[in-house]
Amino acid sequence: MTESVLQVEELTLSFRTAAGLIRVLRGVSFDIRAGELVGLVGESGSGKSVTAQAVARLLPEETTVVESGRILFAGRDVCTMTEAEMREIRGRRIGYVFQEPMTALNPAMTVGDQLMHVIRHHHGCSRREARQRVQRALEEVLIHQPDLVARQYPFELSGGMRQRIVIALAMSANPALLIADEPTTALDVTVQAEILKLILRLARQHGTAVLFITHDLGVVSQICERMVVLYAGEVVERGPVREILRHPNHPYTRALLRAVPDVARRGEPLQAIPGELPDLRHLPPGCVFAPRCVHRMERCDTRPPLRGSGDTAVACWWSGQEVPNR
């Protein structure tokens, strides 16, 4: 087994609000090995982005409280690092791609200049060398006319082009981990496929591990090797993508899969999950998914631990029993 790039261990994190502390992550654990693509899946508000931003420590420090747990990046705890140490890691070791490519670039600077600054910041090279690296970086993200594009401002580029630039920026220092926070959600479907292919190719080429955050199971099945399913700030299931898609153990994962259109089940109505995410201030005492679960039992009023063997783990009392395939 290869070494872990990132290990999130029992991370419990709260936000300080006017209404008091709100726990947004409870005991989140998962790891990413070198060069591996891991999908972090969940619906809006499940804590995907918070997890990702906690890893890069981008959450506002005044209002964020890490109550327990660790985030080990290359063996060191991100939570206890100083801001200066963190700056060394951001960009250089951890690249970050945001959801909205429209606003992730500085509108008052040409994309070439933005790339140039970041590249010079990382490599400390001369202007001339940086210019060549900009060219190469743009070619790497499949931009056909790097000279022309480098001289343009973000508003002159399409969403897909901008996301390529953002990826070029994030990958410019050849980081060990790329965090992609819903990088394709704001794009249309054809562009989405191109961007996915691009991220996959770059990750393979450079041996970069990717934490891919999405609510789209189709995307996960296309590019990820393992996946982590988050629900209301807790990991409910994790394991290799292929196994989970074939044998989802947690009722939530099963319900999610049934909500995805599938050619094989043509004509059948899609099944939505009844109810909504629980209020994080008033969580059910036991399993967080219990109020919406079709397999709810008496036991579900106590919290199920995340149990499993090897890579697979599930937090559910019901799925301990042998279950038939969907």
Binding site: A56, E88, R90, T103, L105, N106, M109, H122, L157
Partner: protein, 296 residues
């Protein structure tokens, strides 16, 4: 893959369009013409002026406007036209200088204040509140008097008086800009605060600062003349308009041209810069378009 096709001229067409819109209003067009003329006259003063602004001809003292002395002469026979031309250099030059100084310092302070927040923000803003609590002329006079009455100190005093406006403006803009995603994105690249403020925040908050500079120019020129008039700015024999009037007003009844023409120079200059400022503000103010392009 999509290839962006943007004609290069589109980017530069903006300048011509701006010019067109700016001169669409009659008053603004007039102001632009006046400002251009004043700046040209100031720049070309050494070549246009018939005489040195400081050469004394006692035999021709207080002579009325004539072919030789277009604007007449002052109490020691200096050519008034030459003095007013040279005075334009001082007013426009020093005015622009002190506004730019205030804008530069204010933008930096305000941007850091807005981005950093916390104690730095509190400290800077309370200091600016103190500066703002004084009437600007009183503060400028006190500062100029304390620093010692000369032109440079007057410019410095005016820059300090104008500073809080720029700090507040830049801070407000920086607050909203630093919440935008590209600033967070810049942090994910490992860029430091200094870099983020100077390269990402300041370039994006410049438009309102530019408007404020054009609005402040007329006011500043008037302030310089005021300090000069009160003896706290340029000292005689420097051909500064305010200082010239402070001597010339005594001759208003008998040699009317002396204070009147000098005053007219101040009036026209301040008026032109104010109208230009209003024009630029109207142009860059998004609310104007809601009102159906009505300009005042």
């Amino acid at each position: 893959m999509s290839t962006p096709i943007v004609a290069r001229s589109a980017r530069y067409g903006g300048g011509r369009m701006l010019w067109k819109q700016l001169t669409a209003n009659r008053f603004t067009a007039l102001a632009v013409a006046c400002v251009v003329a004043i700046v040209l006259l100031a720049l070309l003063a050494p070549w246009l002026a018939p005489d040195s602004p400081t050469s004394v001809h006692l035999s021709q003292r207080l002579s009325p406007p004539s072919a030789r002395h277009w604007f007449g002469t002052d109490e020691v026979g200096r050519d008034l036209f030459s003095r007013i031309l040279y005075g334009a250099r001082i007013s426009v030059g020093v005015g622009l200088g002190s506004v730019l100084l205030a804008a530069l310092a204010g933008t930096l302070l305000g941007a850091f204040s807005g981005y950093w927040g916390r104690w730095a923000d509190q400290g800077i803003m309370r200091l600016m509140d103190i500066l703002l609590s004084f009437p600007s002329i009183v503060l400028a006079m006190a500062l100029a008097a304390a620093l010692g009455p000369n032109l440079l100190n007057a410019a410095l005093a005016i820059a300090i008086v104008k500073l809080p406006v720029y700090v507040r403006l830049a801070r407000a803009e920086a607050l909203s800009i630093s919440r935008q995603l590209f600033v967070k994105a810049a942090r994910t690249f490992g860029l430091g605060s200094g870099w983020i403020v100077t390269r990402h925040i300041i370039p994006n908050l410049l438009p309102p600062i530019v408007v404020q500079i054009t609005l402040d120019l007329g006011d500043t020129i008037l302030l310089i003349a005021t300090l000069g008039f009160l003896g706290l700015g340029a000292q005689p024999p420097t051909p500064e308009w305010g200082a010239m009037i402070s001597v010339g007003w005594k001759y208003l009844l008998d040699q009317w041209w002396y204070p009147t023409l000098t005053g007219a120079a101040i009036f026209i200059t301040v008026m032109s810069f104010n109208l230009l400022g209003d024009g630029v503000r109207d142009l860059l103010d998004p609310r104007r378009h809601e009102e159906g392009g009505r300009t005042s």
